[in-house]
């Protein structure tokens, strides 16, 4: 196994960086390129890199497949829920201006939640698809 050390160490260094960069893309999307979709994909890419090097079983200890599936549906729920909250606060569906006292602040809040929803969904979906393909229908994984 000694000849795999390089890959393992490199992965251990670079995976946290990728995850951090995904969060940067997520929360910097208001100012530069990026947003929820890209952040979710980058985050999933980091997880996939980890599981390529360390194996699916170890990855699923960190992020079980039911969590990924739950995330995939939770994101859509967060997105639609933001719209419903706006509806309950007296606005239109997905009209974020009513979310806070100041319309602009409300828009900020709405975009934040919506982008988080997109990110969680994309993350969950990408990882779920990868798990399904990688496990190749084997029962023991």
């Amino acid at each position: 196994m000694s000849d795999q050390v390089i890959l393992r160490v490199a992965t251990k260094i670079i995976v946290p960086t990728i995850l951090l960069y995904a969060l940067y893309v997520q929360f910097h999307g208001d100012f530069g390129p990026g947003g929820g979709f890209q952040a979710g994909v980058i985050f999933a890419a980091g997880i996939i890199l980890y599981s390529l090097v360390f194996g699916l079983r170890r990855t699923q200890k960190v992020l079980p497949s039911w969590v990924a599936r739950l995330a995939a549906s939770t994101g859509v729920l967060i997105y639609a829920g933001t719209g419903v909250v706006a509806l309950l606060k007296g606005g239109k569906f997905l009209d974020y201006s009513v979310l806070a006292h100041d319309p602009e602040h409300g828009q900020h809040l709405g975009i934040l939640f919506v982008e988080i929803g997109v990110m969680i969904t994309v993350l969950g979906v990408m990882i779920t698809i990868f798990y399904f393909f990688a496990a190749r229908g084997r029962e023991d994984l």
């Binding site: 990026g34 979709f37 079983r57 859509v76 602009e104 969904t121 399904f132 229908g137 084997r138």
Partner: protein, 237 residues
């Protein structure tokens, strides 16, 4: 100057697309698809569509190669006939001469190219696409939404319904994959029947677990190689 870069990138893109179609080894096709993704990210960057380029970069470099390889692990990598192999039986079918499909494709392509002649020139500020809602978004986004990146404000706020639909579509993709692939769970009953060549049995070494703890035993190939090298060294001394 940028137009030169544009042309060069497009030429490379065309070459890559031809290569993807022509190679018979599907692994090579995956490689070329990767190159295609790199080139289109460059092209999007030249055309100032940096958010699109970002998506292309994230998906193309991180996800799509892995997923295509995983698909190849499921279905095998060789194209045995000029046509796509659907089952093992279809290799007996003599190659057809697809004259009529070629004709249809050429005519359709010709009509489409003819249609582009009527389109407004690219980047012209008088184009209809720049005069409908785009000016409103560009001018009002600053104080209506207050987000510096207009793309984000359009995607998340002005076009929030569309993005919600897209998120749902992504979610549906996951559901579809789950439904399709969970029928492979009992691969002994279905998999061997459907892909009954040696490929499926060959691949019993897990795609993912290979670098993991299961590979603690040195792979036989590596060991053999080392032995041979040692013999060579001994011979020299």
């Amino acid at each position: 100057m940028e137009i030169l870069v544009d042309f060069a990138l497009l030429a490379l893109l065309a070459v890559t697309a031809m290569a993807v179609v022509r190679v018979t080894n599907l692994f090579a096709a995956v490689m070329f698809a990767g190159i295609y993704s790199f080139l289109s990210a460059c092209l999007f960057t030249v055309m100032d569509a940096v958010d699109v380029a970002f998506t292309e970069a994230a998906v193309g470099a991180g996800i799509s190669t892995v997923l295509m390889l995983a698909t190849l692990a499921l279905v095998g990598s060789k194209v045995t006939t000029p046509q796509f192999r659907i089952t093992a039986m279809s290799t007996k079918v003599p190659p057809r001469r697809p004259i009529f499909p070629l004709f249809v494709v050429l005519v359709t392509g010709g009509i489409l190219v003819y249609g582009t002649l009527d389109m407004p020139p690219y980047g012209n500020p008088d184009d209809p696409v720049h005069n409908h809602v785009a000016p409103h978004y560009l001018e009002e986004s600053g104080h209506e939404i207050g987000v510096p990146n207009v793309v984000t404000s359009v995607l998340a706020s002005y076009r929030g319904y569309d993005t919600m639909g897209e998120t749902t579509v992504v979610f549906t993709a996951a559901v579809g994959v789950m439904i399709l692939l969970s029928s492979l769970r009992g691969r002994d009953t279905y998999g061997q029947e459907a892909w009954g060549d040696e490929k499926v049995q060959d691949l019993d070494v897990g795609f993912v677990d290979a670098f993991g703890e299961e590979m603690d035993a040195p792979s036989p190939k590596v060991g053999r190689r080392k032995k041979r090298k040692r013999r060579k060294k001994g011979g020299r001394g």
